[in-house]
Symmetry: C2
Subunit: 223 residues, 2 copies
Amino acid sequence: MSTTVPHPTRIVEVRRSLLKANDLRARELRRRFEHAGVRVISLVSSPGSGKTELLEILLTRLTAAGAPAAALVGDLATDNDAARLARSGAPVRQINTGSLCHLEARMIEDGIAGWDLDQLDVLFIENVGNLVCPSAYDLGEAERWVLLSVTEGEDKPLKYPTIFNTADLAVITKLDLAAATGCDLDRLRANIAAVRPGMATVEVSARTGAGLASLLERTRAAA
Amino acid sequence: MSTTVPHPTRIVEVRRSLLKANDLRARELRRRFEHAGVRVISLVSSPGSGKTELLEILLTRLTAAGAPAAALVGDLATDNDAARLARSGAPVRQINTGSLCHLEARMIEDGIAGWDLDQLDVLFIENVGNLVCPSAYDLGEAERWVLLSVTEGEDKPLKYPTIFNTADLAVITKLDLAAATGCDLDRLRANIAAVRPGMATVEVSARTGAGLASLLERTRAAA
């Protein structure tokens, strides 16, 4: 960022203190989550990659299986996602960021206020749709999943390498549309491997159900 | 942004001076573009909405029609887009932003260095794929187009209102996939109108060619 501003030193300094404050909060959150035995998974992706749709399925199945799960969902505006996810029966809270392009640890602290973490197995955090900025902010999660739909083009891992490098799992979504969009899955897989050799990847379709069992297993095994 | 930091006043101050410096540069750029008679159109959208594919078609058709056009393309990493767009025969330059999530006027200044603006009718600027941050940065463009593909869900205008409010035209892309993705076009149109009543909208498909003539006409009429 230092080349973009009239006073680079000052900006970098302020940004560092910002990130440091966030990191301290995230570390404290992580400690609380571990102490309560709740597994926290954050989801990052472009807008429209299918985070909410996937989350609705996971919450519904976990709830039905007697595994208490909850979710915090971030958006600049609207509480559409929270309303949609609440249909799963799980506790869900919306975080509106206004003009801010990412979630920060402070918002997670506020978001879980009043929730009994001891009663939860899994907590999902759905970040604002953005393939760039969320990568820099630790939210205290145990695992970060980056979602990428087959409609977005095979080159996205190469163009947005940072977010793949800060995530623990790549989830390729909307698998049912691969043929219609002409997505070359082998190339997409190769591009993920190019920016992050050996990265764990799961391929899913919310429509056909493909891959959901293994994703659910990963969630529950981790919990 | 003020609620997210330990020293809100200081951050807001730095951010304002940043934006002000950018605005001054953008104003100067706009003056240069107008003086040279070059129409500058910037494209913003999520990653994978089809900016580059659309741009390749527009550049190819403009070049074939004897209307000199050029493009600057922004990405965090890779020069894939520039290489792809160069096939059109038009002058194209890649801007790599590193970890920065948007283009700034300063980068446009550098990007056009050495180009004879008097020889151009149209200059396209393809921003980094991001529906949030680019909205705050004036690039000296005459017109800003926000692209949204039918695969991203009808709710995106409601969730990312700022970018729609700073754009002059909404371009709905990948129209050919509307049926396969189950996109409710009426709802999408209504959501655009809800955040920006009366917003000009063009619906296109790079595959079938639908809508491209009217988009091209808008480009050339404007030039």
